[in-house]
C-alpha cells in the first residue's frame, strides 16, 4: 500500500530541496545590510501605531469553533462515502441519524443568530 505514497515522498524531497536551495542562494548572492530602517515594521509609510497584540471580537473564535465542528463532521462523512456500497440500509440510517443530530445543532445556531454579523 505504501508504494502509492511514493510520489508524495518525492514531492516532499523536491519541495524541501528547492526551498533549501532558494534560501541558500538568497543568503549567498544577496547583498546583506540589515540596518534598523530595513528591519523596522512598515505600515503604509507611517510609524507603527500600536502593538499588534490587541483584543479581538470574541465572535471570530465562535466562527472558528463552529468551523472545526463541521470539519469533524466532514471527517466522519469520508469513510461513509467510500464504504457506502458495502454498508446497506443500516449504515445509511446510521449516517442519517448522525446528520439529523448535527442539523439540529445547525438550526439552533442559525436561529440563535450565531451566523449573523451585526
Amino acid at each position: 500500500m505504501l508504494e502509492n505514497y511514493l510520489p508524495i515522498l518525492i514531492f516532499l524531497l523536491v519541495g524541501a530541496g528547492l526551498g533549501g536551495v532558494l534560501l541558500l542562494l538568497g543568503f549567498l548572492l544577496g547583498r546583506g545590510g540589515k540596518d534598523a530602517q530595513k528591519l523596522s515594521p512598515y505600515e503604509c509609510g507611517f510609524e507603527a501605531f500600536e502593538d499588534s497584540r490587541m483584543k479581538f471580537d470574541v465572535r471570530y473564535y465562535l466562527v472558528a469553533i463552529l468551523f472545526i465542528i463541521f470539519d469533524l463532521e466532514i471527517a466522519f462523512l469520508f469513510p461513509w462515502a467510500v464504504a457506502l456500497d458495502g454498508l446497506g440500509m443500516f449504515g445509511f440510517l446510521t449516517m442519517a441519524v448522525f446528520l439529523l443530530l448535527l442539523v439540529v445543532g445547525f438550526i439552533y445556531e442559525w436561529k440563535k443568530g450565531a451566523l449573523e454579523w451585526d
Binding site: M1, L2, E3, N4, Y5, L9, S52, R53, M54, K55, F56, V58, R59, Y60, Y61, L62, A64, I65, L66, F67, I68, I69, D71, L72, E73, I74, A75, F76, F78, P79, W80, A81, V82, A83, L84, G86, L87, G88, F90, G91, T94, M95, V97, F98, L101, L102, V104, G105, F106, Y108, E109, K112, G113, A114, D118
Partner: protein, 198 residues
C-alpha cells in the same frame, strides 16, 4: 522504510522540542504544525492512511488555525507566560514520568512486548484502509458513532452559549425596512393658514 521512520521521528521530536522552547508563541504553533505533519507521516508508515489524512485535515486545517488565531490575537504578555516555567516544571516532570512508564508497559510488559503483536504485514496496493474503517464504524460501532454526533451537538450549543454576545446599542442596517419605507412614514404635510407678514 526503517530509515524513513527514523527521519520523520527525529523531525517530530525536534519540532516538539521547538514547541516548548520557541520564544515567540506563533513560532510554537508553527512547530506544532510541523509535529502534526510528521506524526501523520508516521501513521502513514503504519498504513493507517485515513487517520493520517484526518490528522492533517482536522488538526492542521482547523485546530491549528484556531490556535494561531488565539495566539496572534490574544493580548498576552510573553514574559508573564514564560515566568511560570519553573513553578510548573515539577508537575510537567511528573506527567512525563507517568507517560514514560505507561509507554514502557505497553512496549515491554503486556503480551510479552511488541514481539507479541508481530510484524506488520504490508498490504497490497489496492487495499483501502478508509473503506475497511467505514465498514466497521457505521455498522458494528454505530452507537459510539451516534455518541460522537451528540458530543458535537453539545459542542455547538456550548460554543454558542459561551461566546455569543449581543452588543447593545449597535447601529445596523435593515435593508428590508429601508426599501419598504414609504413617503407617508417620513414626510408629514401640515395644512395651516398663512400668517401675516411681520
Amino acid at each position: 522504510m526503517e530509515i524513513l521512520f527514523y527521519v520523520f521521528a527525529t523531525v517530530l521530536v525536534g519540532a516538539a522540542i521547538g514547541v516548548i522552547t520557541a520564544r515567540n508563541p506563533v513560532h510554537s504553533v508553527l512547530y506544532l504544525v510541523l509535529a502534526f505533519f510528521n506524526s501523520a507521516v508516521l501513521w502513514l508508515l503504519l498504513e493507517a492512511e485515513f487517520l493520517a489524512i484526518v490528522l492533517v485535515l482536522v488538526y492542521v486545517g482547523a485546530v491549528m488555525v484556531l490556535f494561531l488565531f488565539v495566539v496572534m490575537m490574544l493580548d498576552v504578555n510573553v514574559e508573564s507566560v514564560k515566568s511560570g516555567f519553573t513553578r510548573y516544571a515539577p508537575v510537567g516532570v511528573l506527567v512525563m514520568v507517568i507517560i514514560a512508564v505507561e509507554l514502557a508497559q505497553v512496549i515491554w510488559v503486556r503480551h510479552m512486548g511488541l514481539r507479541g503483536v508481530g510484524e506488520l504485514t504490508p498490504m497490497p496496493a489496492d487495499y483501502n484502509n478508509t473503506r475497511e474503517l467505514g465498514l466497521l464504524l457505521y455498522t458494528e460501532y454505530f452507537y459510539a458513532f451516534e455518541l460522537a454526533a451528540v458530543i458535537l451537538l453539545v459542542a455547538i450549543v456550548a460554543a454558542i452559549s459561551l461566546t455569543m454576545r449581543r452588543r447593545p446599542g449597535l447601529k445596523a442596517q435593515d435593508i428590508a425596512r429601508q426599501v419598504g419605507v414609504r413617503r407617508e412614514d417620513r414626510v408629514k404635510l401640515v395644512k395651516m393658514d398663512a400668517e401675516e407678514r411681520q
